[in-house]
Each structure stands twice: as structure tokens, then as C-alpha cells.
């Protein structure tokens, strides 16, 4: 019998009725991304998605830094699942790639060890009096955007095309390690051919850059960054990627992981300040977008509502290339309607 290998690279993604779990760090560094995802789901795709107010951390950063023991992580994950169960949902959607890895790992452990599942049920019962069921489907939000990318394309006002040259924008896609490197079968295209972001870029008119260090870690690595003494190693990994992609002259970078978005953006500023080096020709750096920001820009959302002004590398040049209109005077208007103080400019990185 012929084996259909490509089937192994597919992933089941639920069609509707999602339970959304927010990320700890995304709301700080990319505050518009999660709101944009919920807006796309509700207004563009008319999907039912629950944004639970009573949620909390998945412990991911503490767990991977050996601060939080695994029994605690299991019980915390169980409590989050209990919120989903209580709300009547079975499709779990964690916003963060680290959380996605945590939920996948804990669920796999329970499925392979029923005694452990019973022990966690008992722990949760003792601690909170709550009960939980395992989700029928765990999908990362980038999986869902990927699934509905063609439907979204019909609603988009812009494409990933340089309006001055008419050529596709050249895009670096970077996928978080915990998306498919821990459990390859849980990612679209597994760890070898991850297509989740490449599929969006290709569908929306862009060109994916295949550069030598494409699958290299962004350098976050949890404990590598958390200790200041180890940050030289963390930034060296990002630098390796930037040096590898530089000759291909990318227009921007898109990622699906909060750590990757943050470090590939912020480390460009640090490298510019330390080494007086940027990886674009003009000295502005390479903009780093989340996939929600990319989708939101193409759908015609206000870039300042998306939170692009909060990135270290600014996106005005990219928006001009795509043909997105924006009002520079509104860039730093706060949610209270007042203009906020303008941040200091970096010494070397142009803005």
C-alpha cells in the first residue's frame, strides 16, 4: 500500500467556537495584536471566540527557566482548561507559541499517563474545587489565520506588493521553535517544512525568502536571555540570522511567536547601538511584524491602532511601499484621546 506521506504534514484545525487564551508578554510588547486577532475572528470571519476575563499565565517562561515545577504547571494548565470547560468550549486557542508548546506538552503527558491526569484532577480539585476536560482541538491563532487565509484575502484592501516596482515584497518568515520543534506533528508542515506563515505570505502576494539560517532560533532561549551574563549569547543568535538574511534585502520580517517578534525587533536596536550596524541599506532596520499586524495592515486597519508605533524598528517605509495611508500626527495619540510624549530617538538606528 502506498503511504501518503504528505498527510503527516497536515493538521486538524477546528472550524468555529474557539476558547482564546491571551499571552503574558504579547499584551505588553504588541498590545494591538491580540485585539486585532479577535477583531478579525469576529468581524471578518464571523466566528465565535471566547475572550475569558478570568484567565492567567500558563507558567511557560517560569517552567522553561526551571523556576516553576512541572506539577504546578500541570495544575495551572488544568485550571485554564477548567475555564474552557465551564464556558462550554472544546477548541483551545493559546495566543502565545510558548503557551501552545506548554498546552501540547501537558496534554500529551496526560494522554500517555492516565494516572498523572487523575493526580492533576485531584490537585486542581483540592486547590480550587474545579473540574476540567481536555480540549478536542488545540490550534495556534496563526493556524486559524492560515486556515482562513484565502477567505481573508477577498476582504483585503492591500497586497504584499511594492507599489513602486509592482514586484512582490520580499518577506522573512520566522516561526517560534515551540510551534513545531517540540511536537512536529502539531504544526502545519511539521518542523521540516513549516508552512503556516509562508502560506499567508504567498497567498497575500508576497515572496518568501529562503535564507541559510531560516530555521535558526531567534536567540530568546529563556534562560539565555533572562540572565544578563548570557545575553551576549542570545543576541549572537539573532545577529547570525540578520547577517544571513541581509544579502536577500528583506522588506520585513513576520513571526508567530512573542519572543521572536520582541527579540528580532529589539536586538536590531541593541546591535545598532553596540556595533553601529543595521541590516538594511538605509539604516532604519528591518521592520518585524506579528502575523496579526500583517493581516490587519492588509485589511486596512489603522496602523496606530495595530500598535506599530510601539515597535523599535518603525514601519512607515514599509507602509509606503504597500500604499497604506496613515496620519503621522496620530502616531502617539493615547487611548484617552490625548497626544502622549514622543519617545527618545535611538542614537544610531534611524526612525
Amino acid at each position: 500500500m502506498n503511504k501518503r506521506y504528505w498527510n503527516e504534514y497536515q493538521k486538524a484545525i477546528a472550524d468555529d467556537h474557539y476558547f482564546y487564551e491571551r499571552s503574558c508578554i504579547r499584551q505588553t510588547f504588541f498590545p494591538g495584536s491580540e485585539t486585532t486577532f479577535l477583531k478579525i475572528m469576529k468581524e471578518e470571519l464571523q466566528k465565535d471566540i471566547r475572550d475569558e476575563a478570568n484567565q492567567h499565565t500558563c507558567t511557560g517562561i517560569g517552567y522553561h527557566s526551571d523556576i516553576v515545577p512541572i506539577e504546578t504547571t500541570l495544575t495551572i494548565v488544568a485550571r485554564l482548561y477548567s475555564l474552557m470547560t465551564e464556558a462550554g468550549y472544546t477548541h483551545y486557542v493559546p495566543s502565545c507559541v510558548t503557551s501552545f508548546g506548554i498546552f501540547t506538552e501537558m496534554t500529551e503527558m496526560w494522554l500517555n499517563n492516565p494516572d498523572l491526569l487523575e493526580q492533576t484532577r485531584e490537585n486542581l480539585r483540592k486547590a480550587t474545587g474545579r473540574e476540567f476536560e481536555l480540549p478536542q482541538n488545540i490550534a495556534h491563532p496563526s493556524d486559524i489565520i492560515y486556515k482562513f487565509r484565502e477567505e481573508l484575502k477577498t476582504k483585503m484592501k492591500h497586497q504584499l506588493v511594492n507599489r513602486f516596482t509592482g514586484k512582490p515584497l520580499r518577506v522573512v518568515e520566522h516561526i517560534g521553535c515551540h510551534y513545531a520543534k517540540i511536537f512536529p506533528e502539531k504544526g502545519i508542515g511539521k518542523a521540516e517544512f513549516p508552512h503556516v506563515l509562508a502560506g499567508m505570505i504567498e497567498s497575500w502576494g508576497g515572496e518568501v525568502i529562503d535564507y541559510p539560517e531560516r530555521r535558526h532560533c531567534c536567540g530568546f532561549g529563556f534562560r539565555h536571555y533572562l540572565l544578563q551574563e548570557n545575553r551576549g549569547y542570545s543576541i549572537a543568535n539573532s545577529k547570525k540570522k540578520f547577517e544571513s538574511m541581509e544579502p536577500y534585502e528583506p522588506d520585513f520580517i513576520v513571526t508567530n511567536c512573542p519572543g521572536c517578534s520582541m527579540f528580532m525587533d529589539k536586538w536590531q536596536y541593541v546591535i545598532a547601538e553596540m556595533d553601529n550596524k543595521t541590516y538594511d541599506k538605509e539604516g532604519y532596520g528591518i521592520p518585524v511584524l506579528t502575523y496579526e499586524e500583517m493581516a490587519g495592515l492588509l485589511l486596512g486597519y489603522d496602523p496606530w491602532q495595530l500598535g506599530l508605533q510601539l515597535h523599535q524598528v518603525q514601519s512607515e517605509i514599509l507602509m509606503n511601499k504597500i500604499g497604506i495611508k496613515f496620519n503621522p500626527d496620530e502616531k502617539f495619540r493615547g487611548a484617552n484621546g490625548k497626544i502622549l510624549p514622543t519617545p527618545d530617538k535611538p542614537h544610531f538606528l534611524k526612525q
Binding site: 545575553r231 543576541i235 549572537a236 546591535i271 556595533d275
Partner: protein, 110 residues
């Protein structure tokens, strides 16, 4: 004006293992077979007394020695005060003092 971030960017290193000389490593493993049990966790470096005062990273020394990159290691190992705190925290229970002493001895003999 450059900003001080409290760290510098590590230099990338490529080692061609086909060209490495593993003679000293094999000698050390014969004298102290427990050396093979090290899993490079770095607990020794984190607790090192000498590292509080001078630039000294025992985990890095171990990695370089394992890859046959022996240049300058004798000077690095001279920074160790043999206090033994690393032995107290090693999760694999290695006694690092004889390992360091034997490394020093092997690096100074031909």
C-alpha cells in the same frame, strides 16, 4: 555615543571536528572517567567563586577541552581556586577538583 548594556555580543565559532586533536580528552577520560557524565548544565559556572572576581567560565573551558581547542586553557584553569563549590552543586555528582587538576597537568605535559 555608545550605550553600555552590561554585556557584549558573543563571537560565533565554527569548529571542524574532523581536524580536532582529541588525544588530551581521551587521556583525561582514562584518568577521570566521570568527566563523561558532565551534561554542560553550567551550574558549576553559576556558583564559581573565582568567576565573581575574574573572567572565568568553567563550562566554557570544559566545552573547549572536549572539542580539542586547547590554546590558552592552561591560563584559564590557573584562575580556579579549587574551592570545590562547583562539586557541591553538580547535579551529576562530579568531583571537579581532580578533573581540573588533571586538566592542568595534561595541558602542561607533551
Amino acid at each position: 555615543m555608545a550605550i553600555s548594556f552590561g554585556f557584549t555580543i558573543s563571537q560565533t565559532r565554527v569548529v571542524n571536528m574532523d581536524n580536532c586533536d582529541f588525544g588530551k580528552l581521551h587521556q583525561l577520560e582514562r584518568i577521570t572517567p566521570s568527566f563523561k557524565k558532565c551534561m554542560n548544565c553550567g551550574a558549576c559556572t553559576a556558583t564559581c567563586s573565582a568567576q565573581q572576581f575574574v573572567s572565568f567560565n568553567i563550562r566554557k573551558v570544559k566545552s573547549l577541552y572536549t572539542m580539542g581547542q586547547l590554546g590558552g586553557l592552561d591560563k584559564e584553569l590557573a584562575k580556579c581556586m579549587l574551592c570545590g563549590k562547583c562539586t557541591l552543586v553538580c547535579p551529576r555528582g562530579l568531583n571537579l577538583r581532580p578533573i581540573i587538576m588533571n586538566m592542568r597537568k595534561l595541558l602542561t605535559t607533551k
